[in-house]
């Protein structure tokens, strides 16, 4: 599938569908993006498991770090990857060795590995690359609108007051990817060889 852009429905189905998320490369440092994405997703009701072999024995916001995906004691719906693009393939291989298989592999902003994506997709997994689940959740719920970001969604329903632990509705009217066609085009041009 094309990974230069994603339809809102594709992202929405993933974020509405997954419950347990394993975060590869979770950092205990509270200034790192992985830390605050972990925190945000936890506060929005996901069961997020921090993976970092250097931190085993410590906890992240009450959740014990584990060394690797295979050390997790429960089925995982999604694996969120905070690793450089070149280090994604071994993560995908490890994911594909799990049983039951996770449903989604998500790579953060700046992380893109088309070969690893194709391998995961061939095994039936959904793949998202070069996106952040916190930003996408904030966008589809419109929580990100507080920062003047174009959520590309509309709703005439009363807005919720987001509080800790609350899942927000992601089912707003989409303006679709079309209105940031320019941004998508720029990514496509950057990823084309030469």
């Amino acid at each position: 599938m094309n990974h230069d852009s994603y339809a809102d429905d594709y992202i929405r189905a993933i974020l509405n569908g997954v419950k347990t998320i394993a975060m590869v490369g979770a950092s205990p440092l509270n200034v790192r993006p992985s830390y605050f994405v972990f925190k945000y997703l936890t506060e929005r009701g996901y069961d997020v498991i921090p993976i970092n072999p250097g931190q085993v024995g410590n906890s992240l916001l009450g959740k014990p770090f584990v060394a690797s995906l295979k050390d997790i004691d429960r089925p995982i719906d999604m694996v969120d990857v905070f690793r450089g693009s070149a280090h994604v393939m071994p993560v995908v291989d490890e994911v594909l060795s799990l049983s039951p298989l996770p449903k989604v592999i998500w790579m953060q902003i700046g992380v893109r590995n088309d070969e690893a994506a194709a391998k995961a997709e061939a095994a039936g997994l959904k793949v998202v690359m070069d996106r952040c689940p916190k930003i996408e959740y904030g966008r589809l719920s419109s929580e990100i609108s507080w920062m003047g970001v174009n959520s590309r969604t509309l709703s005439a329903k009363r807005a919720p007051i987001p509080v800790k632990g609350m899942r927000l509705s992601l089912d707003r009217q989409s303006v679709s990817g079309g209105n940031t066609a320019a941004s998508d085009r720029a990514v496509k041009n950057r990823n084309e060889p030469g």
């Binding site: 200034v31 605050f36 609108s145 970001v149 174009n150 209105n179 720029a186």
Partner: protein, 426 residues
């Protein structure tokens, strides 16, 4: 399942706004407050560290202003936007993210006079050096590029003459030079021209003009197209390098395709301070809801009046890109098929005194230094804004002694034509 893509008029009414969480208020409330309480120390730290969505202080974010920001970002097809106290403030904040002392930016010579002043005087004092180019000679942009160039700045429809810029051609120069193209889209508004579709990386506006549209509130905005890769070559350290005040956070790495708007907010607005008043944001938002309807009427009236003037015996020449005879007619058809805007100039056979007399004799046109109001406006630059220059300087600045500028409002066009006719001596 296919996703439906709402049209421009739907976005003009809905984008960014939904009924208020607390009260259910349908119109966007005016959150006239300086500050917002924190839930606890952890919440405060998360907000200050840019780790959570939420409000701290109206200099940086405000819920009323945020609706305006998302609205304009949606209309322009951008990823995010940042409102400022004026159009001038938008230009200052945008360029501050790109420029270091000693750097250069290329700007079209045909610009709003206030921008020429800002670039020539204020920005020079920061060590930001403007290099002028001519939109009628596109090779002049290429010739102006140097290793110090950090941006190119043009107007989509240029003030005061209403000429149309070949945005795609200038965008290509910017792309080849590896710098962002900034387009001031004030006179066109996204209803007539959406510069991002033609290659702009950043769009700025004076919201004071047609977007607000009622001549009652100042405001400006910066729209991030989400198209520029700020990480390349370390040319834009504000975006690509770790920020010490945010514990080493890199803006581009963290915020992806809306990182320019975030830099403008958390580095520019935070430190320079020209935030928009929430009350003004409310007034501007209300104006934007009727933007499509108003722009249709503005353009219909402007075309009719330009045609009337072009056949009037007292008029020497009409500079309106919407006229078939205009040298910009082809560019207008390409970039602004719905209308060439409502600001243009015309010159009078009777010279300087004819300009003074026309302004004095008009009964409906207001004599003032603004454009983009519901009301029709006129100014005779030679006797007002440019009166300190000699005749040669006036002509070079596009303010010849016999030239007047109009901004056509949304009144009945027959009344405007009758007013001009009587003021021109029938």
């Amino acid at each position: 399942m296919t996703e439906r893509n709402p049209g421009f008029a739907t976005l003009a009414v809905h984008a960014g706004a939904q009924p208020d969480p607390t009260t259910g208020a349908r119109a966007t409330p005016i959150y006239q407050t300086t500050s917002f309480v924190f839930n606890d120390a952890d919440h405060a730290a998360s907000l200050f560290g840019l780790q959570a969505f939420g409000n701290i202080y109206t200099r940086i974010t405000n819920p009323t202003t945020a609706v305006l920001e998302e609205r304009v970002a949606a209309l322009e097809g951008g990823t995010a936007a940042l409102a400022t106290a004026s159009g001038h403030a938008a230009q200052l904040v945008a360029l501050q993210q790109l420029m270091q002392p000693g750097d250069e930016f290329i700007a079209a010579r045909k610009l709003y006079g206030g921008s020429i002043n800002q670039f020539t005087h204020a920005f020079k004092s920061f060590g930001w050096n403007v290099v002028w180019a001519d939109t009628d000679d596109l090779s002049s942009f290429q010739r102006a590029v140097s290793p110090k160039t950090k941006a190119i700045f043009i107007e989509s429809i240029a003030n005061p003459g209403g000429s149309i810029t070949d945005i795609e051609a200038v965008a290509e120069v910017a792309r080849n030079a590896g710098v962002p193209l900034i387009v001031d889209n004030t006179l066109a508004t996204p209803y007539l021209i959406r510069p991002i579709e033609h290659g702009a990386d950043i769009v700025v506006h004076s919201l004071t003009k047609f977007l607000g549209g009622h001549g009652n509130s100042l405001g400006g905005i910066i729209v991030d197209a989400g198209t520029f890769d700020w990480s390349k070559g370390g040319k834009y350290p504000m975006l690509s390098e770790p920020r010490p005040e945010y514990h080493g956070l890199k803006i581009q790495e963290t915020f992806g395709n809306f990182s320019f708007a975030i830099a403008c907010r958390v580095l520019g607005l935070r430190d320079l301070g020209p935030a928009l008043s929430p009350f003004n944001a409310f007034m501007l938002l209300t104006g934007i809801e009727t933007l499509p309807l108003r722009m249709q009427k503005h353009c219909e009236n402007a075309k009719a009046i330009a045609e009337f003037l072009s056949t009037h015996k007292a008029v020497d020449e009409v500079n309106y890109s919407g006229l078939a005879s205009s040298k910009y007619a082809a560019l207008a058809r390409k970039y602004a098929p719905k209308g060439a805007g409502a600001v243009f100039t015309f010159s009078l056979k009777g010279g300087y005194q004819a300009g003074v007399d026309l302004v004095a004799n008009l009964k409906l046109f207001s004599h003032l230094a603004n454009v983009g109001d519901t009301r029709s406006l006129i100014i005779h630059p030679a006797s007002t804004t440019h009166s300190q220059l000699d005749d040669a300087q006036k002509t070079a600045a596009g303010a010849a002694p016999n030239m007047v500028r109009v901004s056509i409002g949304i009144e009945d066009k027959d009344d405007l034509i009758a007013d001009l006719d009587q003021a021109l001596g029938g």
